[in-house]
């Protein structure tokens, strides 16, 4: 009895050691697996020669506040700003920790101002909610460059620079229209971003307006995904089931497009051409390799953050932009949504985000 019990406990302890050891080994293995460093990874933010005023000027301190980089594009925004500032010896960049909460972001912006910056670049988590804070900062004498998500009062910024959502749709529509010029009764499908965002409505409006120029094309279906690969896969898989044959697809966002491409490969479909949106590195790689239905993507360029640094620098040094006649920087700058296809993808590859 006694011996059997001790044997049992011995067994139990041996089992514990076995389990404990396995757990420890698993833990060690797993802990070693968080690295994303890769030997052949070229960072997506190589900078080309600056287009703004070349010669160094007076020292400028630029404050930069953006949302939390929880999305490839936003991550690229931070990288672009950082890399651009490093090019200029006289520019000091103060970056606030990103936040998606307006109250937190207001605190961060105020901390930047109190720390003493010459120009402030703000990509607000929510443009409308951030307007009053930007107004106060402008009134107190620090000029604000508003990046992409616009404040709802023009007095709240000295200069706005951002992408063109309507133009994205327009250019995607024209590209598809030209590709399908000779196809009779061409059918087009749209995989949009979340419907509760105004930018989604603008992209769709631009797309529809462009397609209206091509009477041979009909948009047969439109569904919304959530800018995530997961939602892109799910919605696209169902869309493919709904539309057994069509000629072209426009997907608003390359992140959800990664999932959509999976769904397309899973369904074994390849009868149509696909155009993406935003300009991710993965999308550009597919376009360059020509190994999928994805033939082009319409940019929403994250390089706008680099340009915002250029604008802030010019503003801080009280001069205009090279190539423009004016002595000051513009008050508003809407960027072009270029179509990246196999013909020009090489040029844009460095701007593709991960």
């Amino acid at each position: 009895m006694n011996s059997s019990r001790s044997r049992k406990s011995q067994l139990a302890s041996r089992r514990n050691v076995l389990f404990g050891g396995a757990a420890a080994a698993s833990g060690l293995f797993i802990a070693g697996c968080t690295s994303n460093e890769s030997d052949d990874d070229e960072g997506g933010t190589e900078q080309q020669a600056p287009a703004a005023s070349e010669e160094a000027g007076a020292p400028v301190t630029i404050g930069f506040a953006g949302p939390q980089a929880d999305h490839g594009w936003l991550n690229a925004i931070n990288e672009q700003a950082r890399a651009r500032a490093e090019i200029y010896e006289e520019v000091t960049l103060e970056i606030a920790e990103g936040s998606n909460d307006t109250a937190t972001q207001i605190g961060q912006v105020e901390a930047l101002v109190n720390g003493g910056v010459d120009v402030l670049v703000i990509l607000p988590a929510d443009g409308v909610a951030m307007t009053d804070t930007a107004l106060e900062i402008m009134r107190a004498g620090t000029p604000v460059i508003n990046l992409d998500r616009i404040f709802d009062n023009p007095q709240a910024y000295r200069c706005w620079i951002g992408g063109d959502n309507y133009g994205m749709g327009l250019n995607a529509g024209h590209f598809i229209g030209e590709q399908l010029r000779d196809v009779e009764n061409a059918r087009v499908v749209e995989l949009s971003g979340p419907d509760n965002l105004e930018l989604t409505q603008q992209r769709t409006q631009g797309f529809d307006d462009a397609l209206a120029n091509y009477p041979n094309i009909t948009k047969v279906a439109r569904q919304a995904a959530e800018f995530t690969t997961e939602s892109g896969q799910e919605v696209m898989a169902n869309l493919l089931q709904a539309e057994s044959e069509f000629e072209a697809l426009w997907n608003h966002d390359d992140d959800q497009g990664a999932g959509a491409l999976q769904a397309i490969a899973q369904a074994g479909r390849d009868e149509f051409l696909m155009v993406g949106g935003a300009g991710s590195r993965a999308a550009m790689d597919h376009i360059q390799a020509d190994d999928s239905v994805l033939k082009a993507t319409v940019l929403y360029p994250p390089t706008m953050a680099a340009s915002a640094i250029d604008l802030a620098r010019a503003l801080g040094q009280a001069r205009g932009l090279n190539g423009l006649a004016e002595f000051e920087i513009p008050s508003s700058l809407t960027l072009f949504s270029a179509v990246v296809s196999r013909d020009n993808v090489e040029q844009y590859l460095p701007t593709g985000f991960n």
Binding site: I30, N75, T229
Partner: protein
């Protein structure tokens, strides 16, 4: 894929213990097919859910007969349901045991990005699968330990896990999409990998569902789960190690999340910190309309599986008919309300 369950000979004595009062007693002897299973495994919720599913299929068959009533569509709906289905099986156990797990979506996100890092992908298919499962299980164990031995309220502990796991997932990815380059992982979602027309992801879901059903209805573990959910004090007095049981329930839920995360990586070919968005609510909703009592002590795996299928069929049906996501969300909300009202009614009558 739940057909595996229907062919199992049922043992009435073990089942009776986990059945709510009022359920019809099982017929003895014989594999009389669906009727037997319905009589034993289901209550009013499961039957009404089958009705809802039948109505949805009828609507689909009338509105889009060609695209809806096809093998590829069946494969599609089951594939899309498989991931949230596996999560829901785990969540069902937690809820039956009187708890709640709000962290499942975040754990799926963390496990999916952890198993798709460049470093993990070097270990190939099994390295990635192992990582996903261990990360899920690890998070579940942390949840369980905090709740059982903290002791912390499940709502708070799993909410904390939700925040930290999502944060860690963001930390690992830095906001980027981690694409899978291991071909053996990607191929598993392609048509060539289907086994007798059944996608591998659906097979995994089927196996998890059947194992979950066996675990809940045929084992001491299952009966203890029902006992601590129904009345933890009575369960303690009856000699059940309530805390240990709780720990294991959350570990089980975490394990399911790990499996689901790897399935999601197979399906989407990538790991993203936004993965598993709102899985906690979808899984809880599916379990609830499947007849699992939110206060614990009652529920079935079959009900949860049907709940998942109902939601996925709605999504499929709406997209096939070209209706937008807003209409879809309204329909889902309406079904949850209807199911819970029904549940209340039956709870007061029994």
């Amino acid at each position: 894929m739940t057909h595996g369950a229907t062919s199992e000979p049922a043992s009435s004595s073990t089942l009776a213990k986990s059945e709510p009062p009022g359920a019809s007693p099982p017929e003895a002897g014989g594999r009389s097919g669906p009727r037997l299973v319905l009589g034993k495994l289901t209550d009013i919720h499961t039957i009404s859910l089958l009705g809802v599913l039948a109505i949805l299929i009828l609507i689909g068959g009338i509105t889009e007969p060609d695209s809806f009533l096809s093998t590829t569509n069946l494969q599609l709906v089951l594939t899309q349901a498989s991931i949230i289905g596996v999560v829901t099986v785990g969540v069902t156990f937690v809820i039956i045991g009187g708890g709640i797990d709000l962290s499942v979506g975040a754990i799926v996100a963390l496990a999916s990005v952890w198993c798709t890092t460049v470093a993990t992908q070097e270990f190939g298919f099994w390295g990635m699968a192992f990582t996903a499962v261990v990360v899920g299980l690890g998070c579940g164990l942390v949840n369980g330990t905090l709740i059982a031995f903290g002791p912390m309220v499940p709502f708070v502990a799993t909410l904390a896990m939700l925040a930290s796991a999502r944060g860690l997932a963001l930390q690992i990815t830095g906001g980027t999409t981690q694409n899978v380059t291991v071909d053996s992982v990607l191929e598993l979602s392609r048509r060539d990998s289907f086994i007798l027309g059944v996608p591998p992801l659906v097979i995994i879901f089927g196996v998890v569902a059947v194992l979950g059903w066996l675990l809940l209805t045929r084992t001491t573990f299952g009966r203890r789960t029902v006992a601590i959910g129904g009345n933890p004090e009575a369960a303690r007095l009856a000699g059940i190690a309530v805390r240990r049981q709780r720990l294991m329930l959350y570990a089980l839920s975490g394990l399911c999340c790990g499996i689901a995360a790897f399935m999601l990586v197979i399906l989407t070919g990538s790991g993203q910190n936004t993965n598993g968005n709102l899985y906690e609510l979808n899984a809880i909703a599916a379990a609830i309309i499947g007849g699992t009592l939110l206060s614990g002590g009652r529920g079935t795996i079959l009900g949860s599986v049907l709940g998942v299928l109902v939601f996925q069929t709605i999504t499929n049906l709406f997209i096939l008919n070209g209706l937008d996501s807003a209409a879809q969300q309204i329909a889902q909300g309406a079904i949850i309300v209807a199911a819970v009202l029904l549940q209340r009614r039956s709870a007061t009558t029994t």
